[in-house]
Subunit: 384 residues, 4 copies
Amino acid sequence: MEIGRGRKSRQTYGFDDVALVPGTVTLDPEDVDLSCDLAGLRLQLPLLASAMDAVVDVRSAAVISALGGIGVLHLEGLQCRYEDPEPVLGRIASARPEEVVAVLQEAYREPLKDELVARRVAELKETGAKVAVSPTPIFAHRAAEIIGPGKVDVFVVEATVITARHISSRYQSPDLRRLADMVEAPVLAGNCNSYEAALDLMRAGADGVLVGVGPGAACTTRRVLGIGVPQVTAAADCAAAREDYRRESGKRVPIILNGGMRVGGDIAKAIAAGADAVMIGSPLAMAEEAPGRGYNWGMSTGHAGLPRGTRIHVGIAGPMEEILLGPAKRDDGTMNLFGALRLSMATCGARTIPEMQQVEIVVAPALPFEGKAQQYAQGVGGTR
Amino acid sequence: MEIGRGRKSRQTYGFDDVALVPGTVTLDPEDVDLSCDLAGLRLQLPLLASAMDAVVDVRSAAVISALGGIGVLHLEGLQCRYEDPEPVLGRIASARPEEVVAVLQEAYREPLKDELVARRVAELKETGAKVAVSPTPIFAHRAAEIIGPGKVDVFVVEATVITARHISSRYQSPDLRRLADMVEAPVLAGNCNSYEAALDLMRAGADGVLVGVGPGAACTTRRVLGIGVPQVTAAADCAAAREDYRRESGKRVPIILNGGMRVGGDIAKAIAAGADAVMIGSPLAMAEEAPGRGYNWGMSTGHAGLPRGTRIHVGIAGPMEEILLGPAKRDDGTMNLFGALRLSMATCGARTIPEMQQVEIVVAPALPFEGKAQQYAQGVGGTR
Amino acid sequence: MEIGRGRKSRQTYGFDDVALVPGTVTLDPEDVDLSCDLAGLRLQLPLLASAMDAVVDVRSAAVISALGGIGVLHLEGLQCRYEDPEPVLGRIASARPEEVVAVLQEAYREPLKDELVARRVAELKETGAKVAVSPTPIFAHRAAEIIGPGKVDVFVVEATVITARHISSRYQSPDLRRLADMVEAPVLAGNCNSYEAALDLMRAGADGVLVGVGPGAACTTRRVLGIGVPQVTAAADCAAAREDYRRESGKRVPIILNGGMRVGGDIAKAIAAGADAVMIGSPLAMAEEAPGRGYNWGMSTGHAGLPRGTRIHVGIAGPMEEILLGPAKRDDGTMNLFGALRLSMATCGARTIPEMQQVEIVVAPALPFEGKAQQYAQGVGGTR
Amino acid sequence: MEIGRGRKSRQTYGFDDVALVPGTVTLDPEDVDLSCDLAGLRLQLPLLASAMDAVVDVRSAAVISALGGIGVLHLEGLQCRYEDPEPVLGRIASARPEEVVAVLQEAYREPLKDELVARRVAELKETGAKVAVSPTPIFAHRAAEIIGPGKVDVFVVEATVITARHISSRYQSPDLRRLADMVEAPVLAGNCNSYEAALDLMRAGADGVLVGVGPGAACTTRRVLGIGVPQVTAAADCAAAREDYRRESGKRVPIILNGGMRVGGDIAKAIAAGADAVMIGSPLAMAEEAPGRGYNWGMSTGHAGLPRGTRIHVGIAGPMEEILLGPAKRDDGTMNLFGALRLSMATCGARTIPEMQQVEIVVAPALPFEGKAQQYAQGVGGTR
């Protein structure tokens, strides 16, 4: 496939471009097992809550952990910049659209405080929750020093894009194996979205790989930088790296698909495309317990020079439990996300996550929910 | 075709993606024969009305039968839960959008009553109509017991997805051949949407197969579960199963394409893609005689934990006769659906349904009716 | 290419799906020759105005002829049903949207009058214009009898779809060669949209073939019947029939692409795809001289049983001369249609229509005019 | 690939159809070199500001030059027609939509003045800026005579489409080599959008080639004339011509992609597809220093007979420096365009423009910024 004379390319696919095919065997949803193994950590749900200030704080992380997933606290977010972040969260939520970039840039100008990093980890531990935290690569070693050994269950090194071979004249890339030793926990790393980059990260010692560049609802990387691979293709490519790395090393490094999922069906497609777990933000920002007060924004939205995210209004749909496990009070796929995954897996005849990774996927023209209903109301039925 | 490294897929097609090519021979529409053979039952129109509470009750089933089709009464719907379902239907129609899911969940919480199942069948029989009823797989044997032999013309076992090889730790799948013996009528089963699943159902004794997972206007399965194959491809795939099963068994098991058709052209495409008959809901919910009062909703919309449908406003277009056989008082394809099929077949040179299954189909970019008119009004002509 | 198991299909293309590539030689627009040979009739512009009541009456046909094209008067339209059609045209233009189908059905219920058929032809002849008239196949022989020899320059037998091998138990298909003898003028026939059907019509004696089923802005055939082939593919397919027929018979039968063109670029693409001339309706209904008063509607919109068209608002853009030859007072491509064709041909290095039929066409994602401007106003620039 | 029987075509791609893949090596943005060599002229940014009256006048050209790019002054624009163009610019900005075509046609009816051509060049020179000017082919020799040797840094001969082999019965095409001798500066020529036409221009002496027919936001060439090749394919095709010409001549003629870029990501894709530099208009018309007062329009919009552009509202986003180099006060990709290019290159592992021309591009379904945010606000989250 050529996009111009001699210039090779290939077609890629996102959630709206594919659909799953029911199996020739179907199962009782009750017989489906949703648990996943995240580098030795067993989760009842294949769920990481995104390291975003509108999604994860100590309170929401505790709720998510109790429900079977794990929330990732961003170590460079508002929680570690402000003793009391509530007033700042309030200002962000109430900012008018035309001032929101400036409000965010102002909010993230406040310096990080080592003391708060340590305190948030301790507070989270006290709730009894599984503890996951996330620094960017530049801050990773310092964060590991502050936290010390045995305090977290997972350590997530995350940036828009991360490679095992970053070259900088200013600072050195983090050593993933050394970080794991420092915190005595598995280290996940990302984001990447290609076979080669995922394989490199595995070889560099990542215990799990985050996959997804620019797909999230609150993220504008694809627009601002032109960069991004749609998530279904990214998942399949990086899952191929997982299988090849397993053959070469004997170690199975899980793939966590990060971003772009809005409804239960998207999560089902993510697993079917090859992911072992999903990392989601905006769908959880709709929970009553989420700190975002009905909004979500990307962690690069507050970037001083080049914001690469936006604040979006997601509304508040109900308690986190209803969003994750139902009962759903909405019919649009945004609630009971993992009940939907369970039923989808049963319908596809998949008893476990690894079985779901093998189901048939077809390329299907987008069929938006809204469009269908509107078509009747405006175009076909009703008086015109 | 790959959607990611080593992950095979294939392109699928829906109604908006294809168009029919006129024949090199055209016929007089009067010379076209629309009748179809449904497992021994001869219908003047290749039409089943969907087993939906907004579409089929005793009254509308009688009208549809008189016009040449057959209406399928849902045995687990409101008609078999309430002595008088009218007040409930009224509440559903008048519910505000934000409360409709709760109203539906409440309405379907009322238990089924065996006595009402038997009574509705008797009432329908009394009208002189052809009688078709539909339970879900779990209720199928019990329903057959209640109804007994010789009371229905067709027995339809239907769920979102059904397979001949369902595995459950809680209950046993229905035995289609035994059900046919119990009710002394042909048994249709569905839904499925793949070659393999359709073939399995035929081999398990289905006298007809319903094809369609998640395509309907009031259905959100593709969004909530990620599951669905667009209907043109599903019809062609399952028609291939029909032909292969005919070669292996000598028996021709009809394919009923279920859902997603909104206008006459969609029905024509359904037959052209391989269907022997169509099952439609929302287009008939627009009839004055339909119980939905201008609305339609999926039978999974009232699901307590995970609604997979939505209530849509379809409006009331006219009497059932005008919707099925004209004259059309609208120019948007929603009325005189089978007059349109007749003219379409004549234009394609097809005298019978089996001939229509052979006409040429092309893949064509979507060309929405609304878009064209709007383009003139807003974008090209008129003052801007 | 398969749309389902064993079901072959192919991709087709419309105007919005393609673009023309400038030539490696460009010409001065003044050196371009737009004239075309229509079965012996030389036109300065490759233009037929559609046989639609909102586009062609005696007055507008005279204007179009004077400007270099030819207007086709529909012999079964309002002009031949009413002594004075003006009040009816007024009622159609002023009808509210919800009553327009009924108003049209009522308007076309008035019987045809032989006397008016003859009179309109005579009136048109008196203006000095080139005379083209169009009956449907059923009325063609009777119309030829009424008109008699030597009164028209072109005789156009037109229906939604016409084939040389129509089979009817009620009436006989028209004999194109006999019609040509009766009126002593070339006979164009259509519509068709496939290679085979076009070749059949040429072999049956058509002196020109109209190509286009369901593409027009005021036409809903594709929606109502599911039938249609996008115009770029239809033009190329039927042009291939023209070339093959020329090889077999020595006669070059021109292809007239009928419908779906809205702007100058569409006309350029039509010629480039293989058409010898274009037949357009809605773009001309925007002329001050058009009878439609700012509206257009399909000739099947008034069908009593199954309307297959719609009334659209096109507005009034200016005099016919400005629409055809400029100067354009709009920047949206709807005015100076043939000045645009001239410049497009010059840019593609085509001096004549046959040279334009050879220029390079690429498949290009749709890039709507409106979208681009709106994107700046709403999404990118401006305050959000 | 065929668009009809025997008619070959090929698929082309625009900015919205592709995305870039991050590298397996990433760089520190500070280590990226954005400079480009434009036929001997070194620019710190690979940027030409379009020769449009709403974008470049003496003042804005000076600012753009100081920031590292170069502004191209149109020698047939308002600046060379009016002693004081400000009142005319004001009238254009304040015209109501329905009168804007007439206002533009009126504004450009004022004759060119040789004296103003010379004066604007001198004024620009005095600011210390790099000087680039642009005549159309017809005016090119006369303009070179007026300007004389040594007064400009770049001379740009530009029309909608230009070929080395233009044939006209009225005037002779410009001799690019002679023009270069006359002004003693490199001569860029365009626009073209195919391999063959670009190669022809290089062989005819062009020192740089402008690539882009009809892609700009204020341009309607594709609609009015049907002509255009989407920019990603055009860039790749013409870059192939550059490489082939380098092999045949030893000379590297830069490709300047002209038009259609709106955000930083588009510029990154342009370079990745093969461009050496970009020429942009509408994004710069959003600068406080731009003459357009929040609007932009194509230079063919004022064409007396056939306008092929439109006036669009772009709004005013901030000073030119923020638009080019940040900091961005918007999160939509329209500010800090070259900071975005820098970060995109770093993320793709490209240290220089030539390295960026080699990064991986994938074909990806369009994922509009607006759509994503709206989907949450209207379709998924929030009360419906």
